[in-house]
Symmetry: C2
Subunit: 150 residues, 2 copies
């Protein structure tokens, strides 16, 4: 366990850069078919006539991509203990098929649980951007993280 990142390694203000994710048209449609089968996530023609203006991923898929990037960037090298809520999920702009996405996680604030001194609560903001730097999805929420020296 010594090598894993712990609560102490996530000071307030820390920014963790994420890797990149290419989102293909096939993946947009496959996710939508399984989890969010609405016409504007499944069909290019229907999407063009929707408020999205083109084939765009379910907002929930863009959230899943952000989570995946966060897990790969730090959570899987850490003593993360899951989460019980997100306080806000914003889908600011449509994510179109064919975009390459990246992101970052910022520690907004943190505290040790009073009931469970071995557990820290990190309040994170996760941001998903495209290659042009447009902010697409923003999630704010808590992540529980083991304290190295409770």
């Amino acid at each position: 366990m010594q090598d894993l990142l712990h609560y102490e390694d996530f000071p307030e203000g820390l920014v963790v850069p994420f890797g990149a994710y290419y989102l293909s048209k096939e993946e947009v449609i496959a996710y939508a078919r399984e989890w969010d089968p609405q016409p504007f996530h499944l069909d290019e023609e229907a999407a063009r006539h929707s408020v999205l203006g083109g084939l765009a991923a379910s907002g929930w898929q863009t959230s899943a991509i952000l989570v995946k990037l966060a897990v790969e960037a730090y959570a899987n090298r850490s003593a993360a203990m899951a989460s019980n809520s997100m306080e806000e999920v914003k889908w600011l702009k449509p994510v179109y098929a064919g975009e390459t996405l990246t992101g970052r996680g910022t520690v907004l604030s943190r505290r040790v649980s009073t009931k469970r001194p071995e557990m820290g609560i990190l309040r994170f903001r996760f941001e998903l951007l495209n290659a042009a730097g447009e902010l697409k999805t923003e999630i704010t929420g808590a992540q529980f993280m083991r304290v190295r020296h409770p």
Copy 2:
């Protein structure tokens, strides 16, 4: 378009019952592998020793199940226009592999957009429960819906 549900069909207080969803162990692991590859969502032994106490779905997968049930229950029979945010996502209890889930959507409040009178904004609470009636996941957020007679 006449047959589709519109904004007018979703009065405040309306409760829409959802169908059922059986969540297998294989699906928990498959989702985790793709989107949230943390040990307690992938491995029964690791999960038993985690705060979750057993192999439990990613909270994001439980959210995706709730969205799928909502789409099947009403969104795909409606003039839904997507969404731009969720104001809260709560994972109140772990959802374990092998549970059968159901849910409901409640219209908390609604209004017509002042900028876009053809668009209604429904504020929904979505609740995911297991067969014993335990509330597992609760999502509150906006859904845009076309107004039949703007």
